[in-house]
């Protein structure tokens, strides 16, 4: 059992609106793995992540989670997955604390993890601000904190570094390095060069 990869995509094929987006794509994600998905605009990075998570359904091939054919989106009780997409999924009219608290409750994050994540991104001064006051990069940092609250082993990140400045990009790299060193795994679609160790690249071009 322990040898089964966390996620495995076996020559999957996906089309949308009658257009082939990618075909015979294969990926294996084990613990401690970082897979960086590269490719031109429109090459299907977002689609690939969405297929793996189960938002989109593939036409051919197999996707196995812990060796089983289930999807996080369809059976969320069985598989936990952390997702960070193009949308921030934060409510502008709630405060930073309320936004984070909601997800912390949903995922039963402990109180101490909650505050340590916030401190990690030095966000404690912002806690009572409504999110609508934050700048684009600050919103994205909020998403990073939320990511750290998530107990899921597998993280799927779709261009997580948009709007982040150089310093926060570095923090982000630390965050994922820490996550994989704790036995987690990350799939990350991005156009930037990430300075993390031992990553595998999946090129979609």
């Amino acid at each position: 059992m322990a040898n089964k990869p966390l996620v495995e995509a076996k020559s999957i094929f996906f089309e949308k609106g009658g257009r082939r987006i990618f075909s015979s794509l294969t990926m294996v994600l084990n613990e401690h793995d970082i897979v960086i998905v590269k490719g031109k605009n429109g090459s299907g990075k977002t689609s690939f992540l969405k297929c793996l998570a189960g938002y989109y359904s593939i036409k051919k091939g197999d996707i196995l989670w812990n060796g089983e054919k289930i999807f996080p989106v369809q059976e969320p009780e069985k598989i936990m997955l952390a997702w960070l997409g193009h949308h921030n999924a934060i409510k502008p009219s709630l405060t930073v604390r309320e936004n984070l608290k909601f997800y912390a409750d949903l995922w039963s994050t402990s109180q101490s993890d909650f505050y340590s994540s916030i401190n990690y991104l030095s966000f404690s001064n912002y806690l009572e601000f409504p999110v609508s006051w934050l700048s684009a990069g600050e919103k994205r940092r909020l998403c990073l904190i939320r990511l750290m609250l998530n107990p899921a082993k597998v993280w799927f990140l779709d261009e997580p570094t948009t709007f982040l400045d150089v310093e926060n990009k570095k923090i982000f790299e630390d965050v994922i390095s820490k996550h994989v060193s704790n036995g987690g795994a990350v799939v990350c679609a991005t156009h930037e060069e990430l300075k993390v160790k031992n990553y595998k690249t999946l090129n979609l071009d």
């Binding site: 009780e77 936990m80 997955l81 949308h87 921030n88 999924a89 409510k91 909601f102 997800y103 949903l106």
Partner: protein, 221 residues
């Protein structure tokens, strides 16, 4: 189950926060009910004849206005995508949203009904049946409207379009609700209508979250 109520609470907070939707709903009801005497003249016997219908129409319109937004913001900003990756299924998320929608939209009407009775001049001896129809009927409105609301998020359009798709589905509830009151007033007895209404509620409770979840998933495709 704990998560379920957390979500209800968060939605509730989101709705109340800064914007006080419940208060808005209450004011809307009063205004909408006042519109009937304003637009149809003030003859009291005419008013009392349309009273049940008027209150029910107000309920329907407030559902139309608010349901469109019940799922939209969560759908568009990616919150739904994210929430479904917790231990809660999409179906229960939607059910929680329906509950908090009803708490902020349907329940105020139920609570308000005695006052509305007075405003529109419905004889107080028929208040019980108005109350009952509202109590059984408004949750069905929310539930039945959830799927078209989800679909309208998928289309990315709202307003009149959603209303057009929703209205025919909700009309049976309106007919039964208003019909019960009318039948009771005319002496025929509105119990038959009430039975039919009560049959719809459990069915929609079973079917609606399922179908609305299907619709949301369609939007993710």
């Amino acid at each position: 189950m704990r998560n379920f109520f957390k979500l209800v609470l968060r939605d509730f907070k989101l709705v109340i926060k800064g914007s006080n939707e419940t208060l808005a709903a209450i004011m809307f009801y009063v205004l909408a009910i006042i519109m009937f005497p304003l637009s149809s003249g003030t003859e009291t016997d005419l008013l009392s004849k349309i009273a049940g219908g008027a209150i029910w129409m107000a309920a329907l319109f407030s559902s139309l206005l608010s349901l469109d937004r019940m799922l939209r913001s969560d759908f568009e900003d990616g919150s739904l995508e994210l929430m479904v990756l917790s231990k809660m299924s999409l179906e229960s998320i939607i059910l929680a949203k329906c509950l908090s929608h009803w708490l902020t939209n349907g329940l105020p009407l139920v609570v308000l009904s005695p006052i509305l009775c007075i405003i529109i001049g419905l004889d107080f001896s028929y208040w019980w049946i108005l109350l009952l129809t509202l109590l059984i009927g408004t949750p069905s409105l929310t539930l039945i409207g959830a799927t078209p609301a989800a679909l309208s998020c998928v289309i990315g359009k709202g307003g009149v379009i959603t209303a057009m798709v929703m209205l025919p589905l909700m009309l049976p509830i309106l007919i039964l609700g208003a019909g019960a009151i009318e039948a009771e007033i005319s002496g025929l007895g509105g119990i038959g209508h009430l039975y039919a209404l009560s049959a719809i509620l459990p069915i929609s409770l079973l079917v609606a979250p399922f179908l609305a979840a299907k619709a949301v998933r369609l939007g993710w495709e």
